[in-house]
């Protein structure tokens, strides 16, 4: 029996200049006990589908066509009170941000209790027993203690488990999980996915699994629906969509994701980005046409119909047969230049923070412990670790934003960790940092030209004209039109801002670039553009880079060597290929096993990690450092 059916569903948003389709021609059916994956980049409309199911659309958005049937009832047309009765009972939700999904001023126990009371479990004793059982089911030990805790005392993974327990408390018929693992560390991600699968099997729940990660969707879903700009691009059984994508977009998405195994290949970088709400109306015919590598004039005549390409697999494309011929360019030999002389030498770097105020002022917490490594000319080193591993603290120390408690490092043969004016200047000339969040890294009040040439402003003695010329040259180099120089950061997209961020760091022509999670939070196609840009810049300029990331596949693509950090220490280091092929430290093995494999038919066996359960308070602390 089908639990959720969308028939030609359409959602529109009322913009000042008319209404715009947010979702169009959505068709799927989700049988009982199955998992449907909604896959797409940001702006594809996948979260809007989740909101449509609950009918909690943002102001100005409304369902304009079709129907959405849940268990034989139309969710769109039923009275609000009836729908509210279904929510939390028959239809449950798991959010993206577990930490903010729980009310900070109520204990876990109170929140579970409130939910159980609504479900009609009579007295407080019974509810408490029930709650303990639920926590046990999601493998949270010490349930009784946990009930008295507040959300901020738990780790993100634990909060998500609590939310999963609450979602399954009513044995719902339908579960909507909106990027349930995106905000979590990889190792915890894998465990949460497993847990959802386990609970879903127990209760025979149907699941709508919303994710941006095609690889993950291929692992956990029975069917996949790939969305592009609010319209389905491809729909079909997970394995076949992943193995033989019929729509060019699906194929490109796959190719822009760096592989976890096999030979290193170049990334396919789609140009531009998904059209925003206001741009959709301006596109003629196929919405993907402006970016499609296989576009032909016919594509722009009308919206392409949905064609059957294989058993149960449909694609909205008029030339699905050409999709398989899309290929990423090969990596050239020059993409791995020979490493030169040592540039940066780090010895025994340690950072201890004093935490807490008042009575506990003297509690110390070691964020980074005895880190040593050497970065050579032209070399890219990846530092991999989860939140709290101390990788960002290493970056901040190396560019002088933080003073090391112990240890030292020298750049180009000169000791610079003493913090004196001359070593700061030396540091500045050699090392620049690219920050993680371009939102915070670019002053919204400065024009792009002024941002990228800030180093010249600091040095003084240059005219506005010189600076503008330099800015335009830099923008050209990082792939932005020169007229971007006059704009403000808010007028650029996320990917473009990150390019500006890189351009600023390149302005002084440093020979070491420190990049802290610079592609996290970007869509895969934009990520691919940036990674290719970094490769290209390295070929042209020949600099070294310390690339800090939690994403193993990106590090594998970009870096020659890597360091794995765990709780402030480097647990393993060596050439990237060697570590991926034969990890020696158990933590590295856990980390690698946590990533879903490239091949969906391969067995994915993430291993448990005890930190998931313990969540020491000091690890939480470092997240704020």
């Amino acid at each position: 029996m089908d639990m959720l059916i969308a028939k030609n569903l359409g959602v529109s948003a009322a913009l000042p200049d008319g209404s715009v389709p947010v979702i169009q021609e959505l068709n799927f059916s989700l049988p009982q006990g199955k998992v449907l994956g909604l896959v797409g980049e940001s702006g594809a409309g996948k979260s809007m589908i989740g909101r449509t199911i609950a009918q909690l659309l943002p102001p100005g958005f409304s369902v304009t066509a079709g129907e959405l049937m849940f268990d034989g009832q139309d969710l769109v047309r039923m009275p609000a009170e009836t729908r509210r009765e279904l929510l939390g009972r028959e239809i449950a939700f798991i959010p993206q941000e577990p930490l903010s999904g729980l009310n900070p001023v109520l204990t876990i126990g109170r929140q579970i209790d409130e939910h159980l009371a609504r479900l009609g479990i009579g007295n407080a004793r019974a509810r408490r027993d029930h709650a303990l059982g639920m926590l046990n089911d999601v493998h949270l030990s010490h349930g009784a203690d946990l009930l008295d805790k507040y959300p901020h005392q738990l780790s993100g993974g634990m909060c998500q488990r609590v939310l999963i327990a609450m979602a399954f408390a009513s044995r719902p018929k339908l579960l909507v999980a909106d990027e349930p693992t995106t905000a979590l560390d990889v190792t915890i991600q894998a465990r949460i996915v497993q847990l959802i699968a386990e609970m879903q099997e127990r209760d025979g729940t149907s699941v709508v699994f919303i994710t941006h990660d095609l690889r993950l969707a291929a692992q956990v879903c029975d069917n996949i629906l790939v969305l592009y700009a609010g319209r389905p691009a491809e729909y079909g059984p997970a394995r076949s969509v992943f193995a033989q994508p019929a729509h060019p977009y699906t194929r490109c998405l796959q190719l822009s994701n760096p592989a976890m195994s096999g030979p290193r290949r170049a990334l396919y970088a789609l140009p531009e980005r998904m059209p925003g709400l206001s741009a959709i109306k301006g596109i003629e015919g196929c919405l993907f046409a402006p970016r499609c590598p296989k576009v032909v004039p016919e594509c722009t005549r009308a919206l392409p119909p949905f064609v059957d390409v294989a058993d149960g697999q449909v694609a909205a494309c008029i030339r699905p047969e050409t999709t398989a011929t899309i290929a990423a360019p090969a990596l050239s030999a020059s993409d791995a230049p020979q490493a030169g002389v040592p540039l940066l030498e780090v010895r025994g770097l340690t950072k201890t923070f004093r935490i807490g105020g008042g009575l506990f002022r003297n509690r110390a917490f070691t964020a980074v412990k005895d880190v040593s490594f050497t970065l050579h000319q032209n070399e890219f080193i990846g530092i991999v670790g989860e939140s709290g591993s101390g990788k960002s603290t290493v970056a901040r120390m190396l560019c002088g934003l933080e003073r090391p408690t112990e240890g030292e490092f020298e750049i180009d043969g000169r000791e610079v960790s003493d913090g004196s004016t001359s070593s700061r200047a030396h540091l500045r000339a050699h090392v620049q940092m690219v920050f993680q969040d371009p939102q915070s890294a670019l002053n919204p009040r400065r024009r792009i030209a002024s941002i990228v040439t800030q180093a010249m402003e600091a040095a003084g003695g240059t005219s506005g004209k010189e600076r503008l010329e330099r800015a335009e040259a830099l923008l050209l180099e990082i792939g932005l039109p020169p007229d971007a120089a006059r704009r403000f950061p808010t007028q650029l997209s996320g990917g473009q801002r990150q390019r500006v961020n890189i351009a600023r760091a390149l302005c002084v022509a440093p020979n070491i670039l420190i990049a802290d999670e610079i592609v996290s939070g970007l869509d895969v196609s934009v990520q691919a553009q940036l990674l290719n840009l970094l490769m290209q810049l390295r070929r042209k300029r020949g600099f070294s880079m310390l690339f800090i990331s939690h994403d193993l596949s990106v590090v594998r693509y970009l870096c020659d060597r890597m360091l794995v950090m765990y709780r402030g220490e480097v647990v393993e280091s060596g050439p990237t290929d060697r570590i991926f092929a034969a990890p020696s430290h158990p933590y590295t093995r856990t980390l690698l096993a946590a990533v879903p494999p490239d091949d969906p038919s391969a067995v994915w066996s993430p291993q448990p990690l005890e930190t998931d359960v313990v969540a020491p308070a000091d690890m939480l602390q470092e997240a704020n450092v």
Partner: protein, 286 residues
């Protein structure tokens, strides 16, 4: 036409507030031209006249006369001088002290921050009215000392609110980036942090002007501000209160004048806050 105006000028609140403030400023600047009478000219046969529209009012005294037969309208207009002078000077003074300390505390943090924080705590334990009164005792009466007292009392309003905002901005990566490309502390603060907090600063100045008007009125009400031959709204209230049964009008007009002025500043401040997109967290909205 509307398109070329900056957004903050298109807000009805800002326009409304600005209009009121401009009217009062004009009264203050051109008082000798606008006032129909000399504010201190006494007409002892025409005391306690009601305004012109009430029974017994005279056209020569539009808003009536007070206990000494002085023209209320003229005194109101001249009173705007004291009010505006205090509003402008006191709020700028308080902004200079409070703002500077806030930038120092928020940007450098650490010990200097907690020191300034302690000072603010001490100040906050004193209700502003009481503190200004005591300062007036120490400083002696007079308009100059009123302004000084307001500055010494109200710098904390700027310091408290601005400090937490500076703290937020100083943690932004673009501030770290500016330091990394070689900006000095001075340049970082003036080029990166001050512009980001300017809208808040402007909003606060506007609100502080309203507060300054009130405090001046209070101090002239208790007789600690201007000398008795300078017309001021607070003083008019104090006079009128003694003859409340003889002429309630005399009390009403200065009350309305103060309200009007404070309302103008508040409206302007609120409008600026909205249009300049100042994110005031709750504790800052005092």
């Amino acid at each position: 036409m509307m398109r070329i105006l900056p957004p903050w000028l298109r807000s009805a609140r800002v326009l409304g507030g600005l209009t009121i403030v401009v009217i009062i400023s004009l009264c203050a600047v051109f008082a000798p031209l606008l006032a129909p009478h000399d504010p201190n000219e006494q007409d002892l046969i025409a005391t306690f006249l009601p305004p012109v529209w009430a029974k017994g009012g005279q056209a020569a005294y539009l808003l009536g006369t007070d206990s000494l037969g002085r023209d209320v309208l003229s005194r109101l207009i001249y009173g705007a001088r004291v009010a505006m002078m205090v509003a402008v000077l006191a709020s700028f003074g308080a902004m200079m002290i409070g703002g500077t300390l806030a930038y120092i505390a928020g940007y450098f943090g650490g010990r200097i921050d907690s020191l300034i924080g302690r000072a603010v705590d001490v100040w906050m334990s004193f209700p502003p009215v009481i503190m200004s009164l005591i300062l007036m005792v120490g400083l002696g009466v007079g308009l100059r000392n009123v302004i000084l007292a307001i500055i010494l009392v109200d710098w904390t309003r700027f310091c408290r609110v601005l400090r937490s905002e500076v703290l937020v901005v100083a943690r932004k990566d673009y501030v770290a980036a500016a330091r990394l490309v070689g900006f000095s502390h001075w340049r970082t603060v003036t080029r990166e942090i001050v512009p980001a907090t300017l809208p808040l600063l402007i909003t606060l100045v506007s609100l502080e002007m309203g507060i300054a008007v009130i405090v001046e009125a209070i101090l002239s009400f208790v007789g600690m501000s201007v000398s008795s031959n300078t017309p001021a709204w607070g003083q008019m209230i104090a006079d009128a209160r003694q003859y409340i049964y003889d002429s309630p009008w005399n009390l009403l007009f200065p009350i309305l004048a103060i309200f009007f002025a404070v309302f103008g500043f508040n409206l302007l401040g609120d409008g600026l806050r909205r249009t300049l997109d100042v994110r005031l967290t709750a504790t800052q909205r005092v």
